[in-house]
C-alpha cells in the first residue's frame, strides 16, 4: 500500500496494515527468551530483566524454561565444547521463527577464554546468530539495545522474495548438526553450512618481536 495513502487513512482514524506488517509486529513485540544462562553474561541478562532495566517493557520478560515455547535464545556466556552439543540441541528444539542473540565476547568468539582447550570459539560455528553484542559482559542496556536491533531487523523482513527470513524458505534447514564428542575435540569442529570465516589479513612480516619491553 502506498505510504501516503496509509498516513492519510491513519489521520482519518483507519489503521491500514498488511499481513506482513501485522506478522512482523506480532513477532517483534513478543520475543520470549529461553530461560537459559551459561556464565557471567547470564547475570547481566537477569539484571536486564530486573527492576532497574526491565526488559518486560518490550514484552520480553516471559522467560520460558522450555525451548518449545521460546522465540529467542540468548546465548549468554562461554559455550564450552562440553556444552556446545546441548546448545545446538536446544536450538533445534525451538519452534520457528527463532532468533539467536550471541551475548558477550565468549559467545561470539570464545572471548578471553578462546585460548582454552575446552572453549568453543563462537556459537555461530554451529547455529546461525542474528545479533552479536560485544562486551565482557555487555551492560544490561546493551542487551536491551540488541533486543531493539533484533526488533528492527524483524520489522524489515519481507514475507516473500529472496530476502525473506530463513524460516519462510522451504528448503532452508531449521535444524543443524549436533556435534559429537570426539577424542580431542568436537566432531565436526564447525558446521560449514552456517559458518564461513573470512580470511583475515595476517601479516607475514615478523613484527612480533619488535619494540617489546
Amino acid at each position: 500500500m502506498d505510504e501516503n495513502l496509509k498516513s492519510e487513512l491513519r489521520k482519518q482514524g483507519i489503521v491500514a496494515t498488511t499481513l506482513q506488517e501485522l506478522y512482523n509486529w506480532g513477532r517483534k513485540n513478543s520475543l520470549w527468551p529461553l530461560n537459559f544462562g551459561l556464565a557471567c553474561c547470564a547475570i547481566e541478562m537477569i539484571a536486564a530483566s530486573m527492576a532497574r532495566y526491565d526488559m518486560a517493557r518490550f514484552g520480553a520478560e516471559v522467560f520460558r524454561p522450555s525451548p518449545r515455547q521460546a522465540d529467542l535464545m540468548i546465548v549468554a556466556g562461554t559455550v564450552t565444547k562440553k556444552m556446545a552439543p546441548q546448545v545446538v540441541r536446544l536450538y533445534n528444539q525451538m519452534a520457528e521463527p527463532k532468533y539467536v542473540i550471541s551475548m558477550g565476547a565468549c559467545a561470539i568468539s570464545g572471548g578471553p577464554f578462546k585460548q582454552g582447550y575446552n572453549v568453543l570459539k563462537g556459537i555461530d560455528r554451529y547455529i546461525p546468530v542474528d545479533v552479536y553484542i560485544p562486551g565482557c559482559p555487555p551492560r544490561p542496556e546493551a542487551l536491551i539495545d540488541a533486543l531493539m536491533t533484533l526488533q528492527k531487523m524483524i520489522d524489515r523482513q519481507p514475507l516473500t522474495g529472496p530476502d525473506r527470513p530463513r524460516h519462510l524458505q522451504a528448503d532452508a534447514p531449521s535444524e543443524f548438526i549436533v556435534p559429537e564428542f570426539g577424542a580431542h575435540d568436537l566432531d565436526p569442529s564447525q558446521n560449514p553450512e552456517v559458518w564461513q570465516a573470512p580470511l583475515v589479513n595476517i601479516s607475514l612480516a615478523g613484527t612480533d618481536d619488535a619494540g617489546n619491553d
Partner: protein, 385 residues
C-alpha cells in the same frame, strides 16, 4: 569427628531390588531453570523421591588455570573476576593476597580499608542475590529476587564509579588497589549502607516468617557438623551447621582483626539455617562497612615498589585463602622465576561445597533438590573454572 579412620560417607540406603523397575532416571540440567548455570544432576527418582543423585560438572570448564599459566601475573587478574562472577572483588583480593605472599609485598593501610569495604559490599550483594535466587527456586515468581537486585544495583553503582565496571572489576593490584576512591564515593557508600538495614527488614518481613518458606526449608537438607567439616564445606554453609570457622577470624588476613563483628552460627544445619545465617551475615557486613567507612585513613593506595609490567617473583610457592562470600577461596601459586606462574590453582569453594549435595538430597523430593542446591550457593564459573 567419627572414630573410624574412614571419611564420613553416608551411604544411601540400598532399596529393594524389586523397586528398581519403578525408578525414573531424570537428567536435571545442564539447561535447567534452577541449576544456577550449566550444571547437571543425574537423578534417579522413585516417584518424586530421590534415590540417587550424581552431579555432573564441566559444562563451564573454560580452562582458567591453563590460561593463567600462559598469562603474566597481572594478566590473570581480570580472569579471576570471571571465576565467581558475582564476587569479582573478593576473587581479586584472594589472588592479590597469594601473589603478595609469594613476592613478599606489603599493602598500604588505605588499600586494606578499601579492600575490606569492597569485599563486604560484595558479600552483601552476593548473599542478597543468593536469597533471591533461593526463593525463586522455591517458586516465588521473582519478587524477592527483584528486591535483591534492586539493592545490588546500588552496590554495582558504587563498584562502577570506583572500578569502572559493574561486574568484572579488575580492581586490585599486587600491593594495593588500582585507583583511589573518587571524590564523594565515601558519602555515596555511606548513604547506600545506611539504606540497607531497611531493605533487610523488608526482606525479613516478606519472607523470614513465611509459613510456606519455613515448611519448604526447615528440616530439609540437614548437614551434620562432622560431615560438613570432613567434606571440607566452608562459608555460610559450614557455619549454618554450627561450626565456628571463618577465615576472616581464623586467619585475620587483611586488617579484619581491627573490626568487631560476630559470626552467626546455625544449629540445625538445614536449608533454613543456611538461609538465615546469610541474612544475619549481611547485617554483620553492614557493621564492618560502617566502621571501615568511618575509619578509612588517607594515604597511598598501592605499594610504590611493585611494578605493573615485568613482574617476576622469585621461585617458590604460596597459598593464600580468604573468606569469600561462597566460602573459603584459595589461590595456590608456584613460581619458577619467570613472568608467568608455573602453576596456578584456584581452590573453589563452590566445587568443594558440592561434595555434600548427594547426601543432602537423598530421600527428599525433586522440589527439595533445587532448594538444597540453591542454599549451597554455587556459581558454575567457580565450580568448573
Amino acid at each position: 569427628m567419627s572414630t573410624a579412620t574412614e571419611a564420613i560417607r553416608i551411604i544411601p540406603k540400598s532399596p529393594g531390588a524389586n523397586d528398581e523397575g519403578q525408578w525414573l532416571e531424570v537428567s536435571m540440567g545442564p539447561q535447567h531453570p534452577s541449576t544456577h548455570g550449566v550444571f547437571r544432576m543425574d537423578v534417579v527418582l522413585d516417584g518424586e523421591r530421590i534415590v540417587k543423585l550424581k552431579p555432573v560438572f564441566g559444562y563451564l570448564h573454560r580452562n582458567h588455570e591453563k590460561i593463567a599459566e600462559n598469562e603474566s601475573y597481572l594478566g590473570s587478574m581480570p580472569y579471576t573476576d570471571r571465576l565467581d562472577y558475582f564476587c569479582s572483588l573478593t576473587n581479586n583480593w584472594a589472588y592479590a593476597l597469594a601473589v603478595e605472599k609469594l613476592a613478599g609485598i606489603q599493602v598500604p593501610e588505605r588499600a586494606e580499608y578499601i579492600r575490606i569495604i569492597t569485599a563486604e559490599l560484595t558479600r552483601f550483594q552476593n548473599h542478597a542475590c543468593l536469597i533471591g535466587f533461593l526463593t525463586q527456586d522455591m517458586g516465588a515468581s521473582g519478587t524477592p529476587l527483584m528486591y535483591a537486585f534492586r539493592e545490588r544495583e546500588k552496590i554495582l553503582d558504587l563498584f562502577e564509579s570506583l572500578t569502572g565496571a559493574r561486574m568484572m572489576c579488575n580492581y586490585m593490584r599486587f600491593g594495593g588497589c588500582r585507583v583511589d576512591l573518587p571524590a564523594g564515593w565515601i558519602e555515596q557508600a555511606r548513604a547506600a549502607v545506611a539504606s540497607f538495614p531497611r531493605f533487610l527488614d523488608e526482606f525479613e518481613q516478606l519472607l523470614a516468617s513465611n509459613e510456606i518458606l519455613m515448611a519448604r526449608t526447615q528440616g530439609v537438607g540437614v548437614l551434620s557438623k562432622e560431615f560438613a567439616v570432613n567434606a571440607g564445606v566452608s562459608g555460610p554453609v559450614l557455619r549454618a551447621s554450627g561450626v565456628n570457622y571463618d577465615v576472616r577470624k581464623a586467619d585475620k588476613y587483611g586488617i579484619y582483626d581491627r573490626f568487631a563483628f560476630k559470626i552467626p552460627l546455625g544449629e540445625h544445619g538445614d536449608t533454613y539455617d543456611r538461609y538465615m545465617v546469610r541474612l544475619l551475615e549481611m547485617r554483620e557486613s553492614l557493621k564492618i562497612l560502617e566502621l571501615a567507612l568511618r575509619d578509612i585513613p588517607a594515604g597511598p593506595i598501592v605499594d610504590p615498589k611493585t611494578k605493573i609490567r615485568g613482574f617476576r617473583p622469585k621461585p617458590g610457592e604460596a597459598y593464600a585463602h580468604i573468606e569469600a562470600p561462597k566460602g573459603d577461596l584459595g589461590f595456590y601459586l608456584i613460581s619458577d622465576g619467570s613472568s608467568n606462574p608455573y602453576r596456578y590453582r584456584v581452590r573453589p569453594p563452590s566445587l568443594v561445597n558440592l561434595t555434600v549435595l548427594e547426601e543432602l538430597c537423598i530421600g527428599h523430593n525433586v522440589a527439595d533438590v533445587v532448594v538444597i542446591l540453591g542454599s549451597i550457593d554455587i556459581v558454575m564459573g567457580e565450580v568448573d573454572r
